[in-house]
């Protein structure tokens, strides 16, 4: 049985190669999907208005929300791409899973308090809205909302990965698998928006942590190799001379070529937590006093998930045949374990993908419902109740529309999906680094500084990555993003220092946690 499965994986086909695995996969998938739909229903019960749908404001404690945040951060890339890189390049590629969580979760410390405060006091629902309010700028809100539209490609990439997992586990056709993913996401998100997103993500996060811990233990014990970790290293070096753990940097490699490149990788990830689907999670924390527990938990759990990369190293040591790098974790599990554990693993990988996709979809729907409709077109509409009803309706319709649009893009993905995906992520990160990551702590930050930094950051990233304006293109997205972030931060600081500070009164409202600003006076500041 195991030999059959291995043969299938090694051909690059489905894991689903025999009745036993199909049976296990269906059983686990039915249970998993049932659980997600049940949590979607629970989310619907909690969703009374547009604010609930957009933010699940002040509803969850530090552990549930912490699991949701780490699950959302770690996408299919952490569970498939990073082990794949480790399998292809060896130990030096581990800089990525070592440094990215330090950057992301360390960076979240910069913004978490301001986002929670402003959400509590002004009822902000999205990151673009919040940044607009921080600087009293419609340009920043609308500009960020529009740049955030590029997240569609991030969603599409997750849907493609999820469909491939369903396909491999259950033997469905690609398009059927795509629609099955879309329908499951569509049902639970339309019902409960952010509530469903957070509850499903927490459960998915538990699955993911379980698998990651298992992989770390397997690596440390050197499962499948005689002689523990050192034997793993020896086996890796035998197959790939630059793959051993004594090779810290791979000469000439665009990402792992030296300490400076690896440092840029860290820098590029520091503002990552301000992406709309992650930043808005802080608003869902029940009590600001739980912020300490919450932050410490995401720092620790968030560093554990990417250790999945060690599975790629172990795969390189254990698996003798040539395989597709992204398939290394399933191949490893099939090599070492009975079929039902491989099926459980696929549930874990699917969790990683869905937990990122659902957060992105809810945030994407709020670009239309909140940033463009509620805060822009309906800003002066006196009938607030009607506006709220419409906002909720637009949120739900936009959720379905986003999913359908992503599926259609996934039918025929653009040839350079990864490029679009990274222009989206890199552009938003570079645009938000100054206004949000710096402006969250630095009270001297000004509106012209934020506008200049946002505009410059987005354009700088596009130019550096694509090589416009005679710049030599840097096709390593981390380095391109890292440079843009550094430049955007410099612009933020310089322009802010050259322009007039914002009023004391405004800053007191933004930063003072015990401010008594009426939370129902939401439009007053703009």
């Amino acid at each position: 049985v195991q030999e059959d499965m291995k043969a299938f994986i090694l051909r690059g086909d489905a894991i689903m190669a025999n009745d036993s695995v199909v049976m296990w996969s269906w059983a686990m998938m039915i249970f998993f999907i049932g659980l997600m739909l049940y949590l979607g229903y629970r989310g619907m019960k909690k969703t009374k208005n547009a604010d609930d749908f957009a933010t699940a404001r002040s509803s969850y404690g530090p552990w549930v929300l912490g699991l949701a945040v780490v699950a959302t951060t770690a996408s299919g890339s952490t569970f498939m791409g990073i082990p794949g890189l480790a399998y292809s390049k060896g130990f030096a590629s581990l800089w990525y899973p070592i440094l990215y969580p330090i950057g992301i979760y360390g960076g979240m410390l910069l913004t978490a308090k301001l986002v929670k405060n402003m959400g509590d006091h002004f009822g902000n629902r999205t990151i673009p809205e919040l940044v607009g309010e921080r600087y009293q700028s419609d340009y920043l809100r609308i500009g960020m909302a529009i740049v955030s539209l590029l997240l569609l490609f991030y969603i599409t990439a997750q849907l493609v990965a999820a469909a491939v997992m369903f396909e491999t586990m259950m033997g469905l056709g690609y398009k059927t698998a795509l629609w099955l993913t879309a329908i499951v996401l569509g049902i639970y998100l339309t019902m409960g928006g952010s509530h469903s997103d957070i509850m499903t993500d927490a459960v998915q996060g538990l699955f993911m942590l379980g698998i990651a811990v298992m992989v770390v233990i397997m690596f440390v014990m050197g499962v499948g190799v005689d002689g523990g970790m050192s034997a793993v290293n020896a086996a890796v070096e035998a197959k790939n001379p630059t793959g051993g753990w004594d090779t810290l940097f791979i000469a000439g490699d665009p990402t792992y070529g030296g300490a400076w490149l690896v440092f840029l990788l860290l820098v590029a990830h520091i503002p990552f937590g301000v992406l709309p689907h992650l930043g808005n999670k802080f608003m869902a924390l029940k009590d600001p006093k739980q912020l300490r527990t919450f932050l410490m938990f995401i720092v620790i759990a968030g560093c554990i998930l990417p250790m999945m990369g060690l599975g790629g190293i172990l795969g390189l040591a254990v698996i003798d045949q040539e395989i597709k790098p992204d398939q290394v974790i399933p191949a490893l599990f099939v090599e070492l374990f009975p079929p039902y554990i491989a099926a459980f693993l696929a549930v874990g990988i699917l969790s990683a993908i869905l937990s990122t996709a659902d957060g992105l979809i809810v945030s994407f729907s709020q670009i239309f419902a909140n940033d463009l409709y509620r805060k822009t077109f309906a800003k002066n509409n006196p009938d607030k109740e009607k506006v709220e009803r419409n906002t909720l309706l637009i949120g739900r319709v936009a959720t379905v529309a986003t999913i359908i649009l992503s599926v259609l893009v996934a039918y025929n993905p653009p040839k350079f999906l990864a490029i679009f995906l990274w222009i989206g992520v890199g552009g938003i990160v570079a645009g938000l680094a100054g206004p949000l990551a710096i402006g969250a702590l630095w009270k001297r930050a000004t509106k012209p500084g934020a506008i200049a930094s946002f505009t410059f950051g987005v354009l700088a990233y596009a130019c550096i990555y694509q090589g416009y304006l005679g710049i030599t293109a840097i096709k390593n997205p981390f380095a391109a993003s890292g440079y843009s972030v550094i430049l955007a931060v410099i612009v933020m600081v310089v322009v802010s220092l050259l322009t007039k500070p914002m009023s004391e009164e405004h800053l007191a409202k933004m930063f003072n946690a015990s401010s008594n600003t009426a939370s129902d006076d939401k439009g007053a500041v703009l």
Binding site: L99, I102, K113, W245, L248, L295, M296, C303
Partner: protein, 32 residues
């Protein structure tokens, strides 16, 4: 030092620094 040792050092020391920032500074303190 090999990369596993570097990784452990970086991760554990970042945990220690962040623990200090989170719990021992006023940055995340909320009073009633």
């Amino acid at each position: 030092m090999n990369i596993i040792e570097w990784g452990l050092l970086l991760i554990v020391s970042s945990w220690a620094i962040l623990w200090f920032v989170i719990f021992k500074t006023d940055m995340f303190r909320f009073d009633d």
